[in-house]
């Protein structure tokens, strides 16, 4: 009969990965991959932020000539592409990767190698997109990339090929990641964590993942059509040859609007994680919030046409989409009132993560309210493509996603590093960001109402826009200073922060039941859950220790985790989990060959890359689990 110490040592041996370059390339540990996602996405965030500062500097005054139109157009296009595709979604994926298994009491994601593959493809496609700067052909027709402007006739350079191929490449990563999240959340929850006890962050990741799987094919189809046009003379979008430029817009927004919720849902999942902990009270109307999450993901597919109200579509169809766009505010309203009610019926602790949550709610409400206005067809038609819409979606996306991400940095990074961030610097960073954000984006409402169109590299004086633009520019630098403070805080805390302990906030979910940072195997014993707030169930957590001492559900016979049933999370089977593998990286590299050579029109080499990919996938599937 093994002792507790022996069991833990055995788990350590089974799950440990040696340090060094080999492991760095081959690891499938969800925590390492999660951290990689977080760091890579943060670097892209810095790049997008610098692009934004350049744009704001150019727009600080009328008739400024710091940046010419060519540079300006590339920068605003890449700012959008980076924020949407390379920062927010992967950043939330990073938190998802690291925390979903911890939140549900599992030892890894359902498909660890697929997880590593997702990251490598994300990194490759990000580098692919950014390498366009080296050749002076960065995508320059906006993140929305409307045809015919993006057709070969009007943008003959490779700019758009970088865009279309880069996003198609990235879609592989997102799709694989989404499937992984769904299976993980459905099958790897701790016993007893029935679907109605699942953390709200997992509900959000689940909703987002389903949305991604259904939304991305539309974007990929649009990009494939576009490349077929650009490279092989097809004419999906050319009216003279029977095509239609509006087809691009439909496909793009069938993806693009759900994508708003793909970005937003995990972010509000973070908020729903933080609110009860810092309100010292369980979530009010948990079931409503969970349902609102799924309802949002679902209705999100029925509103895309409100991006096209000015294109001259038939009025009856616009009225339908107007109604749908009004309805979708209700699930958001439910969530906002659920958070407020939880805080109101609790006793809020105003630490930095909660400050960012409060900042999020105020800012997001403004963005939500202007969002309702865009359902009003004539008003939409008046201010769409003006700075008013720029203000609106930054309130929704920066307010709705970046504030929660920053809250998560202060809330969850101590779990990752084992060190708390500095509270005073944290509060200072919050105020810089909150003030800077509002100073940047609130005046844009006004310049938009005053008739300033978006995506202009310059504007005349005498229009009354100058002062609002100057305020925006001052705000953007304040905001950047706040972000810098967050980065300094994270880097500083890694070495010098106060030790976090396993549960610095008094959290209600399972990630706080293990050490900070968690061991390779996450939990020495698979926890058994009896409520929606498992870490507040002190008796249950003591029972875990007892079971560890007895050797129940320790799963130390191999590299294993437990699978449970979909709804009730009854114990189902023990899964043998894969460990270090070269195949995810090799498949990603082979795919890179395909996309790079498609870009430069070497189709034979691209086809060879395709064969290499197939070979690497075959290698992946022939790999036997390592039996220790």
């Amino acid at each position: 009969m093994a002792t507790t110490v022996e069991r833990v040592e055995r788990l350590e041996r089974l799950w440990e990965e040696p340090t060094g370059i080999r492991t760095a390339l081959l690891t499938v540990d969800h925590k390492k991959i999660g951290v990689r996602y977080l760091i890579t996405a943060s670097l892209f965030f810095v790049a997008a932020g610098l692009e934004a500062l350049a744009l704001r500097t150019q727009l600080a005054s009328p008739r400024n000539d710091l940046l010419g139109p060519k540079t300006f157009n590339a920068l605003f296009s890449m700012h959008g592409v980076t924020m949407i595709f390379l920062f927010v979604t992967p950043m939330l994926s990073g938190f998802g990767n690291y925390f979903v298994p911890l939140l549900i009491g599992s030892r890894d994601m359902a498909f660890p190698r697929l997880n590593a593959f997702s990251y490598w493809v994300y990194l490759s496609s990000g580098l692919f997109l950014y390498s366009s700067f080296l050749f002076g052909v960065a995508p320059n027709d906006g993140w929305f990339n409307y045809v015919p402007l993006s057709e070969h006739r009007f943008t003959p350079g490779r700019n758009i090929d970088f865009y279309a191929l880069g996003l198609t490449f990235l879609a592989i990563s997102s799709t694989a990641g989404a499937i992984n999240f769904i299976v993980t959340i459905f099958r790897l929850r701790a016993p007893g964590m029935s679907i109605n006890r699942m953390p709200l962050f997992c509900w959000a990741v689940l909703g987002t993942s389903f949305s991604l799987i259904f939304a991305l094919p539309a974007l990929t189809a649009a990009n494939v059509f576009l490349e077929l046009e650009r490279k092989f003379g097809f004419h999906f979008f050319q009216p003279a040859k029977g095509g239609d430029p509006l087809l691009w817009q439909h496909l793009f927004w069938i993806f693009g609007h759900p994508d708003v919720y793909i970005i937003f849902l995990p972010a509000v999942g973070i908020v729903s994680s933080i609110v009860p902990v810092f309100s010292r009270r369980e979530m009010v109307a948990y079931a409503w919030v969970a349902l609102a999450t799924i309802a949002t993901a679902f209705i999100g597919f029925g509103v895309w046409v409100h991006h096209m109200f000015a294109t001259g579509l038939p009025q009856i169809s616009m009225i339908f989409f107007s109604a749908a766009s009004l309805i979708i505010t209700i699930p958001s309203g439910v969530q906002i009132f659920a958070w407020s009610a939880t805080a109101l019926r609790g006793r809020p602790v105003l630490k930095t993560p909660f400050l960012f949550v409060l900042g999020f709610i105020t800012v997001f409400v403004v963005g939500g309210l202007t969002g309702v206005m865009f359902a009003a067809i004539p008003f939409d038609q008046q201010v769409t493509d003006s700075y008013f819409v720029v203000a609106h979606f930054h309130y929704v996306l920066f307010g709705g996603a970046v504030f929660p991400i920053l809250a998560a940095v202060y809330y969850w990074v101590p779990k990752i590093t084992g060190r708390l961030l500095d509270e005073r610097l944290g509060q200072a960073s919050f105020w810089l960001i909150f003030v800077g954000f509002n100073l940047t984006f609130f005046p844009m409402h006004i310049s938009g109402l005053l008739g300033m169109p978006r995506r202009v590299y310059t504007y005349p004086d005498g229009m009354g826009w100058g002062i609002y633009n100057l305020l925006s520019t001052i705000g953007s630098f304040t905001l950047a200073l706040g972000i810098l403070a967050v980065i300094v805080n994270v880097v500083w805390s890694r070495r010098s922060g106060e030790p976090a302990g396993s549960d610095p906030w008094g959290g209600n979910t399972l990630e706080w039941a293990t050490t900070s940072p968690p061991p390779h195997y996450n939990f020495p014993v698979i926890p058994i859950v009896t409520s929606a707030n498992p870490n507040w169930d002190v008796v249950d957590r003591l029972a875990d220790t007892t079971r560890l001492n007895r050797g129940e559900l320790v799963l130390d016979d191999g590299h294993e985790t437990l699978a449970t049933t979909l709804l009730d999370a009854d114990s189902d089977e023990v899964l043998e989990m894969p460990s270090e593998s070269p195949w995810p990286l090799l498949v990603a590299l082979a795919l890179s060959v395909v996309f790079v050579f498609l870009l430069v029109d070497h189709y034979v080499v691209a086809a060879i890359g395709g064969l290499l990919t197939a070979a690497a996938v075959a290698g992946w599937h022939s790999e036997k689990p390592r039996i220790s």
């Binding site: 009216p239 509006l246 109101l344 008046q382 005053l450 906030w505």
Partner: protein, 384 residues
Amino acid sequence: MGSLLGGSVVRVFRAAPLEMIEAWTNGQPEAPASNFGTPLAGSASSVRSLSLVRPAAPRLALVAGGALTLAGCGSSQSTLEPASPASKDIAHLWWVMFIGATIVFAVVVVLLLAAILRRGSRADAPVREESRFGRTLVFTGGALVPLVVLVGLFVLILQTLPSTSQARGRAALTVDVVGRQWFWDVRYEGRKLVTANEIHIPVGAAVQARVTSEDVIHSLWIPALNRKIDTIPGKTSAITLRASHAGTFRGQCAEFCGLQHANMALLVVAEPPAAFRAWLARETRPVAAPASALARRGQAVFLGSGCSGCHTVSGTGANGKVGPDLTHFGSRRTIGAVTETNTRDLLGGWILDPQHVKPGNRMPGFRLSGPELRGLTAYLESLK
């Protein structure tokens, strides 16, 4: 404020009867020159004084919405200075939604402040019980009240549709606007009248602006007169421009269309019927042969140096289609789609180096001698 929130929108202007417009548009050829003379300082500043009328409701709301008190003053492209029934309806809709949004925002902020006042500490044992109050709050505040408000808003939206929806059927006066990279071709249906970047309309008449594009997607947006409408290749759409008072209203391309999206503006000049008739007569008349020796020399330069390969001047050999039609260029207020004021000096600078003024536009610079340039600008200015 009650009538503002609930009342239906009052239509100030009814459509002008067809005969009236016919009278305007078929008026006498001779008419006094209208007050076109004022040059455009910075392309916009002199325009603003013309749009004076502001509805009462916005004024009230301007006071109510402190942060926006500056918003209304002084720009000719503002959505908040509507000069047509359509734009007034939209501005009305905005102010109603703005007031509603302010109330909702205030409620949420009050809730959060009330929560903050109940501050606790990390050491507090978590409360674990359902809150009946909380659930009621979520149900009423998050679902029930929003549903009622949204239904009300939906009704208001439907009420605003008639004035802003696409123009249908035949109008007395139809203007065809074609978006081009990066200027606007303007034609008047049924007349030999081609111009660019300037639309003249008679005050009070419902003018149909029928739009399409010959290259990429643009969007015609004249905020004071109506919502925007995209110009899409292969598709024709139409909106109504009905100015409720005389004035010059700036508009601009609102859909990103490439390098010079920023400098693709236009002016809509709404004039009293007599002045409009005079303009129409002048613009449809063939251009007279250049009168001065200088202008004659300029015409030779125009026809000999390549200008005519891209530009049309009706009645001469110049029939290029790449750039804007210049037949009555001398009467236009701006150069390069409202990039610069149309003065002889700025015109000369434009001809020598248009890429400096509007980088990426299709016009190459011309190396002309001093006399050639003087002649060319004199000729172009003579094209009244």
